[in-house]
Symmetry: C2
């Protein structure tokens, strides 16, 4: 049985706790959070604390705390030479205090406390400094039912950056779709099946092959009509830039 | 039983044929295509023709042909005062020759001939010039199992434009994610569950509420790091513009 001390009680830590609770290979023996009230509801099923000096001995310490405080919290851990990992996509593994064996368990998914999450849909990217820590981290990720992938720092950095494009920026395109349709009293809901289909399509097909539409076809008449329709200057700029980007990808000239 | 003559044999017409084939309320009594070879495989189950002068008498004629030729094909139909509709998101209903009763059945989805399509996931937007044609068009759409919505020309125009944002432009963000990850030998596949989750999330929640990430948080440090990481100038411009757009939506100042 692998013993885990979990630190933090936000989106990620909460899902990790629930995930580990279902496995037989991993046991969360203690849960720490700066403010105890967030973990009070779990006091019956796990030892809770708000004092770093109270931390128990465990195989691994998972720091699922805000990016900005990872370094500080790792420094304040009152022991050394134990395996300590964080869960961030963008923080360096070297931000963890060097007194520890250091690693990263980066869950490549968007968590929110309130929404259910099946770890089968959460690829966990594993990074370690020393090779010896890898098998344990892999076991932990696999116990959750997650696909796992060993990566290096550069790869984690680009994955986090790419995640901003496919998650935050994509969501903003949905938002613009919402604004455009509402401006004429059309229902955004009508676009939802298309949005889902667009995401499903590239599960099997490359985004290159999946592309369609006026930019790919270089359909100047439709592009011109669309630009005329757009009243918001920012929306217009986004239309132009992404149309150019599609053209660049598919070997067409610029707008 | 509603009798339909289907014109065209591309992505949309092929799916419409297969969809109608499963209903008991609608019968495709004839299928026309300019080049007969595309519909030859269906000759056993439906009357096929490549001659507009051979068209049978039907309750409705559905023109699922390229946008550019809708006007011309409708003009060449050798009859008048029949219900004739097209399936385009961007072509005016008035592009259909005025000798007909005119309407539009716009299926708001991305079709490709090869991929299966369940019409339950295809909202059909209905537009008519005279009100009397509406009930028949509604019946036809419902027979396919599609959600339906009556819309006007302005609404169809914005829906088509919004579809470009949530389908073509979103797909290009996936493509950029692909390029960025590959540049470091990271696997694009790791992003696929996040892509699906992002699309699923807004089925229940508004894109406004669903937004997260550095732009929404106005996390200047991460934004700066990301911009430094991006080598492609176009990717950088897209990052800046969409970050500004998220800030505008969420009441933050520009980059
Ligand atoms: N959310 C996601 O979708 C996601 C996905 C992948 C990776 N991550 C990474 O996972 C980590 C946690 O993210 P999250 O979304 O779970 O964050 P979160 O919901 O904002 O929770 C942050 C946690 O950090 C704690 N914390 C903040 N300042 C602290 C301090 N000075 N000392 C001790 N604890 C402190 C908070 O404690 P209080 O409860 O006392 O405020 C809270 O438990 C981050 O590194 C993030 O980059 C997040
Ligand atoms: N594909 C989508 O995702 C989608 C979604 C919603 C709406 N629509 C709309 O549905 C309509 C059809 O789109 P599609 O994707 O099915 O097109 P498509 O696959 O390109 O097929 C075009 C069809 O038009 C015919 N055609 C072209 N020029 C013609 C001419 N001069 N005379 C007679 N027929 C001609 C073609 O005949 P040949 O076989 O002889 O070339 C072919 O059957 C368009 O108005 C489009 O905007 C498409």
């Amino acid at each position: 049985m692998i013993s885990v001390v979990l630190l933090g009680a936000g989106n990620v830590a909460t899902h990790l706790f629930k995930g580990f609770d279902k496995t037989s290979e991993v046991s969360v023996i203690q849960w720490y959070n700066r403010s105890i009230h967030a973990i009070k509801p779990y006091a019956n099923s796990v030892d809770i604390t708000d004092d770093l000096n109270d931390l128990k001995d465990a195989d691994i310490y998972i720091l699922a705390v805000s990016d900005d405080v990872i370094s500080e919290v790792s420094k304040n851990l009152p022991f050394d030479d134990k395996l300590v990992v964080h869960t961030s996509g963008s923080v360096s593994v070297y931000d963890l205090d060097m007194k520890h064996k250091r690693g990263v368990l980066y869950p490549l998914q968007s968590f929110s406390k309130s929404a259910e999450m099946d770890f089968a849909n959460v690829p966990i990217c594993i990074e370690t400094i020393d090779k010896k820590s890898y098998p344990l981290l892999k076991k932990i990720a696999v116990s959750l039912g997650s696909p796992t992938k060993r990566i290096n720092s550069d790869q984690r950095r680009v994955l986090h950056l790419a995640a901003v494009f496919v998650n935050n920026f994509t969501n903003q395109l949905y938002r613009i779709g919402h604004e455009i349709t509402e401006s004429e009293g059309a229902e955004f809901d009508l676009l939802k099946p298309l949005i889902l289909e667009t995401a499903k399509k590239i599960q099997e097909m490359s985004p290159f092959k999946a592309q369609t539409g006026p930019a790919k076809r270089n359909d100047k008449k439709t592009i011109k009509k669309h630009l005329k329709q757009l009243e918001n200057e920012q929306h217009k700029a986004i239309y132009e830039l992404l149309t150019d980007s599609i053209k660049a990808t598919h070997g067409r000239k610029k707008l």
